[in-house]
């Protein structure tokens, strides 16, 4: 039963990843691509971590998974900002 719930989370997470990749591939300009990426992959990874934590069931593993997610969230938000900033600066030149 808990496995079923976990799998549901994992699969939804993967779907978000797929949406993010399609966005990165198909959207017309850099800034909308950045937007698609940060939304989709962070949410995707969050769902995936939640699903894996449910399937595993261990408390320590759940904490670690949560930590990984928070880290990626913070790092990728900053990285996306830095990339956008750099693109804007180059456009100004």
């Amino acid at each position: 039963m808990s496995d079923l719930l976990g799998i549901l989370f994992v699969l939804t997470g993967i779907a978000f990843f797929a949406a993010g990749s399609i966005g990165v591939l198909r959207l017309p300009d850099l800034h909308s691509r950045l937007h698609a990426l940060t939304k989709a992959d962070n949410l995707g990874l969050g769902l995936l971590c939640a699903g894996l934590a449910i399937i595993d069931g261990g408390a320590l593993n759940a904490v670690k998974l949560f930590l990984v997610w928070v880290l990626v969230l913070a790092a990728s938000a900053t990285a996306a900002h830095l990339i956008a900033q750099q693109a804007l600066r180059q456009a100004d030149k």
Binding site: I14, F17, A18, G20, S21, L45, L52, V68, I83
Partner: protein, 88 residues
Amino acid sequence: MTTTTQILLASTALLLLTLGMGLARAMIGPSLQDRMLSVQLLGTGGVAVLLLLSPLLAIPALVDVALVLALLAAVAAAALTRREVDDV
């Protein structure tokens, strides 16, 4: 081999396929930032693949590896964007 494991396995393969799609953007470009963007996608995706492989291969330490990869992807992003900033 339980059904859960099989589904996780299929999810990992699907995720890799997805990452390959994102990497197509890196090949197309056109700007350097577009390529960095797909590297970032690959960083997050790589973390996800490691997290999925951990139960599949029964190696709990792969979660630690995912943690390290997440940290270093941030270092790489900082190094990548820093270069041009200094040129101004």
